[in-house]
Assembly symmetry: C2
Amino acid sequence: MATVSDIGLSAAINVSMAVAFLLVFAFLRLQPINDRVYFPKWYLRGMRDSPVSSGAAVQKVVNLNMRSYLKFLSWMPAALKMPEDELINHAGLDSAVYLRIYLTGIKIFVPISILASLVLFPVNWTNDTLDSMKVVHSKIDKLSISNIPYGSNRFVTHLVMAYAVTFWTCYVLFREYEIITTMRLRFLASEKRRPDQFTVLVRNIPPDPDESISELVEHFFLVNHPDHYLRHQVVYNANKLADLVEKKKKLQNWLDYYQLKYERNPSKRPTTKEADERQKIMKDPQSAVPAAFVSFRSRWGAAVCAQTQQTSNPTVWITEWAPEPRDVYWNNLSIPFVSLTVRRLIVAVAFFFLNFFYVIPIAFVQSLASLEGIEKALPFLKPLIKIDVIKSFIQGFLPGIALKVFLILLPTILMFMSKFEGLISQSSLERRSASKYYIFLFFNVFLGSIVTGSALDQLKAYIHQSANEIPRTIGVAIPMRATFFITYVMVDGWTGVAGEILRLRALIIFHLKNFFLVKTEKDREEAMDPGSICFDWCEPRIQLYFLLGLVYAVVTPLLLPFILVFFGLAYVVYRHQIINVYNQQYESGAQFWPSVHGRIIIALIVSQLLLIGLLSTKGFEETTPVLLVLPVLTFWFYKYCKNRFEPAFVRNPLQEAMRKDTLERAREPTFDLKAYLANAYLHPVFKGREEEDNMSISEDVGMEEVIVPTKRQSRRNTPAQSKYEGSDTLSLPETVHER
Amino acid sequence: MATVSDIGLSAAINVSMAVAFLLVFAFLRLQPINDRVYFPKWYLRGMRDSPVSSGAAVQKVVNLNMRSYLKFLSWMPAALKMPEDELINHAGLDSAVYLRIYLTGIKIFVPISILASLVLFPVNWTNDTLDSMKVVHSKIDKLSISNIPYGSNRFVTHLVMAYAVTFWTCYVLFREYEIITTMRLRFLASEKRRPDQFTVLVRNIPPDPDESISELVEHFFLVNHPDHYLRHQVVYNANKLADLVEKKKKLQNWLDYYQLKYERNPSKRPTTKEADERQKIMKDPQSAVPAAFVSFRSRWGAAVCAQTQQTSNPTVWITEWAPEPRDVYWNNLSIPFVSLTVRRLIVAVAFFFLNFFYVIPIAFVQSLASLEGIEKALPFLKPLIKIDVIKSFIQGFLPGIALKVFLILLPTILMFMSKFEGLISQSSLERRSASKYYIFLFFNVFLGSIVTGSALDQLKAYIHQSANEIPRTIGVAIPMRATFFITYVMVDGWTGVAGEILRLRALIIFHLKNFFLVKTEKDREEAMDPGSICFDWCEPRIQLYFLLGLVYAVVTPLLLPFILVFFGLAYVVYRHQIINVYNQQYESGAQFWPSVHGRIIIALIVSQLLLIGLLSTKGFEETTPVLLVLPVLTFWFYKYCKNRFEPAFVRNPLQEAMRKDTLERAREPTFDLKAYLANAYLHPVFKGREEEDNMSISEDVGMEEVIVPTKRQSRRNTPAQSKYEGSDTLSLPETVHER
């Protein structure tokens, strides 16, 4: 158990490391040569250019203005200065709302910290339980709940505090949800015309023997949305083409390089193959996926189609709001819809095993990485590993590295799982991965550190222990692990966040690229790696701090100031990064907030259950019913918020759509929406960077005639059973021309 | 533990009671005097009249045709003869699908019974574990899993059987869901024009200082559904008036009675007060509830409005498909929407206590009903209870009666809870009550009989036992309780169902009424009490048999034939009742099937978990993972079915709506839909039986003008914050005239 001086030492080390990082950052960012590493956002927005060579050449590389070094912390107020509205304009709503997660942390924990230090510190301190028990303990433990004697009435204070924490947290969460909903609605209302406002993604279009998918889509929507249907874009399975394009791009790079170096022309352009494939896809009906982006004349029409069920068979003609074109994850559009439920089951099972059994393959790798393992597997290395240095390296580092590599790879593995599930937008992929990562952190980091066992051991314990024994076992261990988590917060939270601002990896890679590869200004543009928020693995880590804060708020409130420092520092750092560095790949309009809200609620309920467990071992079992009220109320609060706010993040109100339609029709009565939407949802590989490659898409033919002659001659009198339906009797659209 | 002869005796008693009931029924139904008790459905359909006095007066009362008595079981084939399509026409889809629950039971358990008797009986029988252990046991136990020795490889048979049972059950469930979905869709498609096809219920209309609710609704829908809106009907809080009408009806009864008896005219008609109230409600804006039934020009328009979100604030202007007019539960329409979440929380907590703590008040009543209790509470009764007869009555019967009264009242209590929750249709009330009743039966009858403890004791056990200990404790007890459940099936299932057909209660009440009250033919009509299916308390009881069947299928397959007899008998009896007796109050189009399906799935998963628990005590723990696959797959099957079929029971496909609209417009181009819908959703008390009372509803004024002049002069320039929204910034419809 760490003493005060241990903590102090650790704090000193971490604070000085964090300060060192900040100092190095303050120095590096002032060097013009690093400008593209620390201010890429401004380059991408076109508001900054490579420094013009107005002075000496050396000034392009090193900043010689000594006065600027004096204000080395000036970026902090600068980061805080930009008002939120401007921030939304500058970086999008997603980024602005992401920052509000940190703000929520500050809002929740500042009053709780103050209240806890005023109330709980004196109550806990003025006992001598730990002294009299003669157990090894530090001054820190004297401030925690452990110092209250068994069965003392003082636990009433903690009980009241638990109520206060719950109500305050819920209040802040409610207010935040309200504010963010308003922000989202205002953002959506103020948005300019965007293709996705008019477009719906239709999936699982049932095959038809007489008509192509494109004709089928047109007929269906002309019949069922006659006043609103405008046009559609069939989805092609262009995954192979996308690979070719990727390959071409690499070859092009080498080509450019040799062109520059030797000024010779290649005999054969590498684009031929790619153009062939492109032609093939557009013509081959097999490459059309039974999915289409259908656009409507008005936002109202699209909102209606996205929210309603089209046919009596709910598994065909499935409509959903189309994601932003840049947010679409094209690879998954070609997954057959029927396999989605199977994929979901497979991923659920796989994730269960990953979460609880990941230690097994790692232990196996570790055993291989041991001296004996290497001797057995690769006997010819035997003389080598006899060398002392190598021997100690294998014994000391290899096992740890196996685990570390797994943890570094984890977000990638989780993202792969989410992709396998078949989600069709980048933003939903990130949200799904974040949920998985949170579950992993909860079991393997939070619970794993408390009961100090692998998740697998925990799983055994959960199965073999009774429902009221589990929170008790964990609850008892909580106060003892406070010092560990304080250290964790400092290492991961303080130093980690300070390291983020340094962007060491991006800095090194940029300079390497700059030195070896960059030939043209455009290359330099591409060498910049602004990165983005990485919601899928950043947000779950923030949630860990919420969890720690809420669990320890009543038990060992000393942890709270450390968490507060994290939230404050992270807020400033990420605000700076969002303003100057990150470049979001998509804009989901803060669609992630419901899950952020939900996870803080989970943390709150966990903290309540663990407190019940802890107090029941302290001779205070009779209060269990009083405390059990809290999780029930919290869950109810969650349901209430879900009803009240979540639809604003999922559905599209008709009133808003109608309002915008009306306004726009009055302002621009002659706007050609059809031309505007023409290529919006074309697979990006079809929109090559070369303008000469621009192909006209042929499925628009006949779109102007409202009644399209059907090809289904044979079916007019004999409605044959459609192949697709099998034993199903739900009927296909046949009324196309019967009305 | 019951022996074979015990079971045989019990079977003999129950079979003879059931046969006696059937004989009495066969006799009673042939008597013309009972015609209205046993064939009310035909009277209500107007296809049967009181026997005409063609012969002697005595023939109106007693059937003297001896030959008809010979065919006393002829009703059985008659009940089975009617084809399903005709049944749907005759009694509605709800009734026809309700019968399919029994059919599903037969389909699931016939093959399982055969397989089990072919495979499991020999495997179980050819052991002598029970003989060698010298425990008390009967021949029945020798057929059960108990007779297999510890750790025997024969358990593999049971394992394979568990897989077979699961796959067969899922297959039958899938087929049934498919068939019933098709039936529902065909039913909906073939339905004649009905007001609810065009109508949407709008709730929580936000108040407006300038406009009445009626004006507000009109403006809102004219703006947001301009092409589709037709008319609306504001909902009035007429609960008080309904009471008055009820009161009047009773007075009228007496009046009629006296009029008949004394032929004198009353000085004051009792209708005056009621007419006043009626006038008051229609004029008083306060009595208009912020809800309205909004009708559309087409089914398409209504389908769109019902499935979409109207405004950015999801808690106002909430739309849902309107229930059938006769299905509306009017009393709940006036509940303010904000209180609904609170009501739901209260009911959830109350039901939890009812389920687990109901023994406490009953124990209290029982203690009062004991000798000492009565002596203390009512000392003056002391001499009375000294009498031996009364004493033994109090000791022997009163405690049991308290419990019995509670169990009889239970469906009423659960229905009251559901009503308190604020559901707005009779059918949803019944479905909700059924869920609650099922939970109650599961814990208090099923688990209560197995572990023989009150639900409260169980609750303690669940909390204090580990997750894998609970199925083990219950699993071990299951084979031992087989004989008990066999007896239960015979008493409750066989005799109970046979008793149902006798309709003893309805018979007695009808004859009492007929004798004392009935004066006119109309009175006689009203004295008939056809009753209805009572989904809320009949369906959960069927589910109990599914649960028993699935749990014992592998453990003690001897139970299955008993359950099969129940399903067969019940199918015939209820088919007869549905054809001849019951009169459904509403038609929901089999909307209850998803919950029936879900509960059979629950039974299946419970049976799998209990088998895991049982086998783990038999030295066969290593099979747990093999068996754990089953609940995972079953749950996945449930999710799959939910996605595949449930939307057909909840949502309204646009294609169907469009098809019917088109067809109808072609057939009846001049149909006056507005007149047709005029009074469809008027509160029933406003449509008095007296036609002279028929009042014109005034809110239609101005409905023909599409643009209605707004009254909001003051708000054109200064959009004041609406009262309702409070801190909320989501805006109200203000674009009424801005476009």
